[in-house]
């Protein structure tokens, strides 16, 4: 039982990552009608916001120590992070909390990147065929990825969670299991709660603001909304920026779980498209539900008990579920009719 509970937690955690990326993809697709293959790159850029902040905080003064030399003959270096020099213990604390701290930076940066991307490129593709959109955003994703690679290298760059949150919570005690049987890392719990918060904010925004109403109306019927004389262009830009922020924040918060590298966006891209389609193109609740559903099913499929019966099932479970759902429900879990069918 504890094993199953743990797998549900794993699934929710995994699902949270899928859901956040899929949410942004769906927002963009539903409102703007654009298939954005660069969305994974936005997720990756978010993660690299954290990397950059971490690097900046750890920017060090270098003093050479001529008394010692490295094995290759140059003088040894003594490095001190500048923030520690300036702020002392508070500086050390800032370094420790660099990942949560990055969120403050990631929001404006991702918003800016999103707006730039929409204004500079995407808006020229609203009326173009989906194939063109896919190709141009895919090209953009490669370009962004290669730029990051040239700046940060190809290897993963570790980002530690704050020391206080590095341990695990004993959920077993809380839920009435034996102590120590259901332990779960604090950071993963935080990630889950954070995702729920973001999803909540996005839905609240769409539900309760006039802005959101226009966006929802646009998702339902773009042409009509355009006819109402609303400046739809401006709203499109904001939606794209918002989707970029959601993807970016998902990236920032994921870094302690998965040390980021330049390729992480591509790794998530295909999966998140499967999630979006299983949820139903253009359906926000569908994207979120599919994210969690696939996350949980993937976790269960990875259990030894399951794998012993069906070897390799964890390799294909997501795709298998996608096939079954699309055959049973032609437009995914909550898809509307007529979207992306021709």
């Amino acid at each position: 039982m504890d094993a199953i509970l743990l797998q549900i937690l794993n699934g929710l955690d995994k699902g949270a990552a899928y859901a956040l990326i899929a949410l942004g993809l769906t927002l963009i697709f539903g409102t703007l009608g654009v298939v954005n293959f660069a969305h994974g790159a936005l997720f990756m850029l978010g993660a690299f916001c954290a990397v950059t902040v971490g690097k900046l905080l750890k920017y060090e003064t270098v003093k050479l120590d001529p008394t010692q030399t490295t094995p290759w003959g140059s003088p040894a270096e003594i490095r001190t992070p500048i923030v520690e020099e300036w702020f002392g213990d508070f500086g050390a604390l800032m370094i420790d909390y660099s990942v949560p701290f990055s969120i403050l930076f990631a929001i404006p940066i991702m918003l800016l990147l999103g707006v730039l991307m929409e204004r500079g490129l995407i808006r020229f593709f609203y009326k173009r065929p989906h194939a063109d959109q896919i190709l141009v955003t895919f090209g953009l994703a490669i370009v962004v990825q290669e730029i990051i690679k040239s700046q940060f290298g190809a290897n993963p760059i570790p980002q530690a969670a704050p020391a206080l949150l590095a341990g695990s919570a004993d959920l077993g005690a809380v839920l009435g299991f034996d102590p120590g049987t259901v332990v779960y890392p604090y950071w993963r719990i935080i990630y889950l709660l954070f995702s729920a918060l973001i999803i909540g904010i996005v839905f609240a925004f769409l539900q309760f603001t006039t802005y959101g109403m226009v966006v929802r109306a646009g998702m339902a019927d773009r042409e009509t909304v355009g006819l109402l004389g609303i400046n739809i262009q401006k709203r499109f830009t904001v939606v794209f920026g918002m989707a970029a922020v959601v993807a970016g924040l998902a990236g920032v918060m994921y870094t302690p779980i998965l040390p980021p590298d330049y390729h992480m966006g591509m790794d998530f891209l295909v999966l998140s498209f499967v999630v979006v389609v299983v949820g139903g193109m253009g359906s926000l609740p569908g994207a979120v539900a599919a994210g969690f559903l696939l996350g949980i099913l993937q976790s269960f499929a990875s259990m030894n008990e399951v794998k012993n019966i069906l070897p390799g099932i964890d390799q294909i479970i997501i795709y298998l579920i996608a096939v079954v759902i699309l055959l049973v429900r032609p437009r995914g879990l909550m898809g509307r009719k007529g979207v992306m069918e021709s």
Partner: protein
């Protein structure tokens, strides 16, 4: 008649009118291939071309870049530029710093993309277009085996880069292929005594294994040697390559009763699974009254940097480490560090050594013909290359040398100072009979 002998087939083309247009145009090209050379890509001018085939894109791009740095350094040293590096400590003094066999060494590069197809395409380009006499490099076993097969068919020597699977010099060994790097069998043999000393003989191991040939090979070797110690294996779970999030494989470990987790992962998989295993508190856990232990059988320092502090105290093996203090290692670290400003990785080391070994063999053979080089390399004993006295075993073209057991360093002094050497396992302890891993070398191929 033999269908496969190409002297016949060339005549066969002219006979068979099957491919009209081809037959009409084909003979033109044969002039190139059918020249008087004794072997493929026989160097005719004042230079000879080596082909460096490394991953430049994909997950191992950084490792590939480091390999390329090492190769460039090796070429400089062979041509007599720079400080000579390991040539000064190498036991064979055949190379004089004036190229090989009087010819200056040049090189061409290619991108393997860590894909067999791309790696073979890139190697073929270097052989067919650039006239490379030897191909070397690579950062994964799949690629190494694929390119090794290609070099065997084409008729050039392949000096494997970083490849750790048993198959490279086992099941899939080829006469034209040589490996300096160690393998999973040696890792098992080297690691087991250290594990015994640190964790005792009453342990239960839980394996997470990358679900492909190298992973299985690694899992098999560790199981074999730890079970000899008296360890039990609780489970061996296969994980998909590039799973990213391994939580669903890690949580079952928590209550499995196992007290050792063996991560048979490499590269990004290793970084992610180790980071996450530590996050789940496995490093600090107590099971059966013992401290829980994590073991990463194959360490790569470059990659371990990606796991940050999570590697601290984690045992594993590695081919070579820059902190070694023998003369050869010191010379190499010095010239590499001077050129690039940071220490070389184990991938750089093995590639550098492979390039020198090949050049040396050509010099000693007085020829670049693969079959002559092969004779010079087979059974070749040497020293001064960082791993103590080493031998290229003739039976399987595998180098036998010391293996390092390392541990993630608790108090690193720089970002390169990630691992500390716990023990240098002597060569005798990791040797195994040549027929253990199967396979057939076949005969050498000169091409042409």
């Amino acid at each position: 008649m033999s269908l496969f002998d190409d002297k016949f087939s060339r005549r066969g083309v002219l006979k068979t009118g099957l491919v009209g247009a081809a037959a009409a145009t084909a003979p033109f090209h044969f002039v190139r291939g059918a020249s008087a050379a004794d072997y493929l890509n026989m160097p005719k001018g004042k230079s000879v071309t080596f082909g460096f085939n490394v991953p430049q894109t994909g997950a191992y791009a950084d490792e590939g870049a480091d390999e390329l740095r090492a190769y460039k350094l090796a070429v400089q040293h062979i041509n007599g530029e720079g400080d000579g590096g390991m040539l000064n400590t190498f036991s064979s003094k055949a190379l004089k710093g004036d190229g090989v066999n009087g010819k200056k060494v040049e090189f061409v590069t290619g991108d393997t993309q860590t894909k067999s197809d791309a790696a073979r395409a890139s190697a073929k380009r270097m052989i067919e277009k650039d006239g490379a006499i030897m191909i070397t490099g690579g950062s994964s076993s799949g690629v190494a085996i694929a390119v090794q097969g290609l070099c065997q068919e084409a008729g050039v020597i392949f000096m494997a880069g970083l490849t750790h699977s048993n198959d490279t010099t086992g099941k899939d060994k080829k006469a034209n292929g040589f490996r300096h790097f160690f393998n999973t069998e040696m890792t098992g043999a080297a690691l087991a005594p250290v594990l015994k000393n640190n964790f005792g003989t009453d342990r239960t191991a839980y394996h997470l294994t990358a679900d492909y040939t190298w992973g299985w090979s690694q899992e098999g070797s560790i199981k074999k040697y730890t079970e000899k110690l008296g360890w039990k294996t609780a489970a061996a779970v296969r994980t998909p390559l590039g799973a990213g999030d391994f939580s669903q494989y890690i949580t079952p470990v928590l209550n499995s009763g196992a007290d050792v987790l063996v991560l048979n992962h490499y590269g990004k998989d290793m970084v992610n699974s180790l980071t996450q295993a530590v996050q789940f508190g496995l490093r600090d856990k107590q099971v059966n009254g013992k401290d829980f232990a994590i073991v990463v059988p194959l360490y790569s320092r470059l990659m371990a940097q990606g796991a940050g502090k999570n590697v601290q105290g984690i045992y594993g093996s590695t081919g070579w480490h820059w902190s070694l203090t023998d003369e050869g290692s010191k010379a190499f670290v010095k010239s590499f560090g001077k050129a690039y400003g940071f220490p070389p990785s184990q991938a750089a080391h093995t590639c550098y050594v492979q390039a020198l070994l090949y050049a040396d063999a050509c010099q000693r053979a007085g020829s670049f013909a693969p079959c002559d080089v092969l004779k010079a390399l087979e059974g070749f004993k040497f020293d001064g290359m960082g791993n103590g006295p080493t031998e290229y075993r003739a039976e399987d073209h595998q180098c036998f040398k010391d293996v390092l057991v390392v541990k993630g360093k608790e108090n690193p002094t720089s970002k390169f100072d990630v691992l500390e050497v716990v023990e240098v396992t002597p060569r005798a302890q990791v040797e195994y009979p040549a027929d253990l891993l199967g396979g057939e070398l076949g005969s050498c191929n000169n091409g042409a």
